[in-house]
C-alpha cells in the first residue's frame, strides 16, 4: 500500500507543476551550464595531458614557476600557492554571502561579496604578474625557453635540433589554459560586482529572496574548482 502511494507520488512529481529536483529553474540550468563548462576545461586539460605524455621531456614546474615579487632568489611554487589561497578565500567569502542571503541580511551579503570581489581581483593581479614575468623570460604561444638543453627554439634553424612539438607547445598550453581560466575569473568578478550593486540597491529585498547570489556563487565556486585541476596539471604533476 505504502509502496503504491510512493509510486503514485513519484509520478505526480514528474507530471509538471512542481520542481522534481526541488531547485529553481535558474539554479538547475546554472548547474548544467557548469557541467558543460567542465567539459570545455577537460578538453583543454586532456589535450595538455596527451601532448605531455607524447613527449619524452617536459619542463620542470619547480624551475619554471619559481618567481615571487620582491624575492630575488628562486622560490618554487611560492607564488602559485599564494594565488591558490587567494582564490579559495574568495570562494569562502562568496559562500558566506550566500549564507547571509538565506537570512535576508543585505549588509552581510554586501560585506562578504565585497571581500569576494577583492579576492578575485587580487587573483587576476597575481596572474598578470605571473604572465608578464614568464613573457619577459621569453615564453610565448610558440616559444618555450625552458625547453630541453641542446634544442633551439622554433624558428631558429641554424645549429642544434629543432625543439620537438610537445615541449615547444608548453607556453601555448600554459597561456591558453590559464588564460581561459583567467577569463572565467574576470567574468566572475564582473558578475559578482553586478550582484553587489543589485544587493546595495535592494533589488533582492524587493524580490523577497537572494537566490541570485546563490546562482552566481555556483559559478564562482566552479572557477575555484577548475583552478584545483589547473594547479594539479601545470604546477604539481
Amino acid at each position: 500500500m505504502s509502496q503504491e502511494t510512493a509510486v503514485q507520488q513519484q509520478k505526480n512529481v514528474w507530471d509538471g507543476g512542481v520542481s522534481p529536483f526541488s531547485v529553481s529553474y535558474g539554479k538547475l540550468m546554472m548547474w548544467y551550464f557548469l557541467v558543460s563548462d567542465a567539459f570545455s576545461f577537460a578538453a583543454l586539460l586532456i589535450t595538455y595531458a596527451a601532448l605531455r605524455v607524447s613527449s619524452p621531456w617536459w619542463p620542470n614546474p619547480n624551475e619554471v614557476f619559481s618567481a615571487f615579487p620582491g624575492i630575488h632568489k628562486p622560490f618554487p611554487l611560492g607564488f602559485v600557492t599564494l594565488m591558490t589561497f587567494i582564490l579559495i578565500m574568495s570562494s569562502v567569502f562568496v559562500v558566506r554571502a550566500v549564507q547571509e542571503g538565506h537570512r535576508m541580511n543585505r549588509k552581510g551579503v554586501m560585506f562578504w561579496m565585497f571581500l569576494g570581489i577583492i579576492g578575485g581581483a587580487a587573483f587576476l593581479g597575481c596572474q598578470a604578474f605571473e604572465w608578464s614575468h614568464l613573457i619577459s623570460e621569453g615564453m610565448t604561444l610558440f616559444n618555450n625557453p625552458f625547453g630541453p638543453e641542446g634544442f633551439v627554439h622554433a624558428g631558429h634553424h641554424s645549429g642544434g635540433h629543432e625543439m620537438p612539438l610537445g615541449p615547444r607547445l608548453f607556453g601555448c598550453l600554459f597561456f591558453t589554459i590559464t588564460g581561459f581560466h583567467g577569463f572565467h575569473v574576470f567574468t566572475g568578478v564582473l558578475i559578482n560586482c553586478i550582484i553587489f550593486i543589485q544587493s546595495a540597491r535592494g533589488v533582492y529585498d524587493r524580490r523577497g529572496h537572494y537566490e541570485m547570489v546563490e546562482k552566481v556563487g555556483l559559478y564562482w565556486h566552479f572557477v575555484d574548482l577548475v583552478w584545483v585541476f589547473v594547479f594539479l596539471a601545470f604546477y604539481l604533476l
Binding site: S22, I46, L77, R103, L232
Partner: protein
Amino acid sequence: MAEGHQHLSEEAYKSGVKAVWRATAILAVVTIVEVAAALYLGDTLGKAVLNLLFILMSGIKAFFIVAEFMHLRYEMRALIISILAPTFFFVWFIIAFMMDGASWGSLRALWN
C-alpha cells in the same frame, strides 16, 4: 530546502557557517601538504607515488568545493546523480587520450 530560498533557523545557519570554515581549513591543509610534498618529498617517494598522491589530494579538494561550497551534498539525490553522471565520461577520455599521446610519442621516436 523544499522551496530553495526559505528563511533558515538560527541553528541551521550556525551549523552551515561552521561546515564552511571546516571545509576551508581542510582545503588549506591539503594545499599546504601538496606544495610541501612537491618541494621536499620528490626524491623520497618517487614521481609515480607522488603523482598518485597529488591526484588523490586534488580529488579531496574537488569534493569539498563541490559538496560544501556549491552545496551539492544537500541537494536531492536525483539532482546529484544528473550532475555527476556525465563527469564519468572523463575517466574514459583521460585513458583514451593519454594512450593516444603515448602512441604519438612512440611513433615519433620510431621515425626519428
